[in-house]
Point group: C2
Chain length 335, copies 2
């Protein structure tokens, strides 16, 4: 039983790519009591992969050098010594950037029946939880308020904006390029879009949010976040979900210049990691399932074929090439 | 009945001083029904005076040019056409930087019996409310946690640190100079002090807060706040009460470089203006009174004599010359 995967050889200086990752044969341990062997079907690529590869203890320890790159994936159980899982079960977990993995059964979750890996990563899994709990719990979003979402055509952002509309908010998305802007307004129902590649974000925010921003669902950080801070409404909330503009930075970026507005507006910036809400996943799942079934919550997926392409594909998140959820098709159930 | 005061003539470029304020005779309107005339006894000088004098709508409109500088003061009622106030009553309100004012009675609050203007501004008035609600409500401070207070020998900071000790926290104060550091530790009971003028704040915070900072009561902003952000504990809270390091800035200062740590630690930065808590003043007053009476909460005052010295005195807040609450003695009851 051979297994290949991407091993983190050195810490990334800028991009996490094939300069720091090596494609290697990775030995698989024996399947002992309580463990299962899974074959990887679909690998989720997320901005946080870049954080995990860095040298700093963040909300998780760094991926140790010389080990398989950490990643969330969906796999199918090929062999089981765990009473809770059977061969053929489709599961999610920290399978990593590899073709197969041996893991404790307790570290894996069954996918709901009838949900494909694309659907799971696109709307139901950690992305859906992030959008749901970030907006409702951290953002305390309310009907009638103005919501701004950055990386609005990305996996999380595209769901956040639609949930904002379901809640009865005015929703402005910030995205890169005319095509994405058109998509979030015409297909997803955002009230307006700002193309940060061709428009002045601050000026447009001023025009589109005349009463200020009640919730900034922040996926980008840097200048875009700063433009939102400057226009925060009284008691506005910044859900600090991601700062993708900074993860590849080679020097420490300047912070936002408009932090004083948080003071003046009695605003709040709150950091948010979806891991803290895994225990409440069922609550979000129920609502997301209902909204998807009703046609109120749409999602797009950007599926790259082949694990060997994972490092190149990851850069799509940082260049803004992806629309919707980026993932890599690694294997098939039947093959 | 002559009246003099400091009139804001031009917006400050850097300091709010006699370059923008002019000492003038200020006419007093007649005392109509519902109004009173007060004679100013004590003027509170606060960092926020600098904000009010600036051109920007902050949490209050800017002081209009050509009008008396806005300020909180204690005065004595000299004439009353308001049923709720009598001649001789000692009151607090937005009397401004002038010898006398005519104001609606409803805009003034009686000082509690037996409380002097020094005591009022030093510990019971807006300063006490700021320390109390900022630490307990915004900071959600809990026994056993680590609290860092900047401007720790200032009016608010010195109270915040002591309330932290009353609550059972570990308290580290950041202040300027050996004398202030000695005072907050030896007299006020802080666990430790960092002299930002002679020590490396970040390095010392690392040594003194080995488990990170649970609450940063932030009065300073800039590099000191940034050093705290870098060392925030899991779910740490930054009570953004003031950013005095930036109010005199002539260019927009860089923001904190360590904001990403708010994300990683699921931390929170929350802006706080004490005005929002005036309706709950009695609640704080009761506790503060109890702590002062028990000798658990000490306060220092820095009283400058004469309203003509107010602009010069204000700079003591920005140069860090004051210890405890800065105020100006304007008049006496009997004179």
């Amino acid at each position: 039983m051979t297994n290949h995967g991407w091993v983190l050889e050195t810490r990334p200086v800028e991009k996490l790519d094939a300069n720091c990752l090596a494609w290697r044969e990775v030995p698989l341990p024996a399947v002992e009591a309580g463990s299962v062997r899974v074959k990887t079907l679909m690998l989720s690529l997320d901005p946080t992969n870049r954080i995990w590869a860095g040298p700093t203890e963040s909300y998780m320890p760094p991926v140790p050098l010389g080990t398989v790159m950490r990643g969330i994936a969906v796999g199918v159980v090929e062999e089981s010594q765990d009473a809770g899982l059977r061969v053929g079960d489709v599961v999610q977990g920290m399978i990593g950037w590899q073709e197969r993995a041996v893991l404790p059964g307790a570290a894996l979750n069954l996918l709901p029946k009838g949900v494909t890996p694309e659907q799971w990563f696109g709307v139901f899994g950690h992305i859906g939880l992030t959008a749901y709990f970030g907006l409702l719990e951290v953002g305390q979003a309310k009907a009638g308020e103005t919501l701004v979402v950055s990386a609005a055509a990305g996996a999380v952002g595209s769901l956040v904006g639609q949930i904002g509309k379901i809640l009865g908010m005015r929703v402005v998305g910030i995205a890169g390029g005319a095509e994405k802007c058109k998509w979030i307004v015409e297909e997803l129902g955002f009230d307006a879009a700002i193309d940060y590649k061709s428009e002045k974000v601050g000026k447009r925010l001023g025009e589109l949010c005349p009463n200020g921003i009640d919730v900034d669902f922040e996926n980008v950080g840097g200048e875009i976040m700063d433009a939102c801070l400057a226009r925060l409404a009284l008691r506005g909330r910044v859900v600090l979900c991601g700062m993708i503009s900074q993860y590849n930075a080679t020097t420490v970026p300047d912070g936002p210049k408009n932090l004083a507005n948080i003071l003046m507006q009695r605003g709040r910036i709150e950091g948010f990691i979806v891991l803290d809400y895994l225990g409440r996943a069922a609550e979000a799942f129920g609502k997301v399932e209902e909204w998807v079934a009703a046609g109120k919550l749409k999602f797009a997926t950007d599926v790259v074929m082949g694990l060997e392409n994972a490092p190149t594909a990851l850069d799509r998140l940082f260049s803004g090439a992806n629309r919707g959820k980026l993932m890599v098709r690694v294997g098939e159930i039947s093959s």
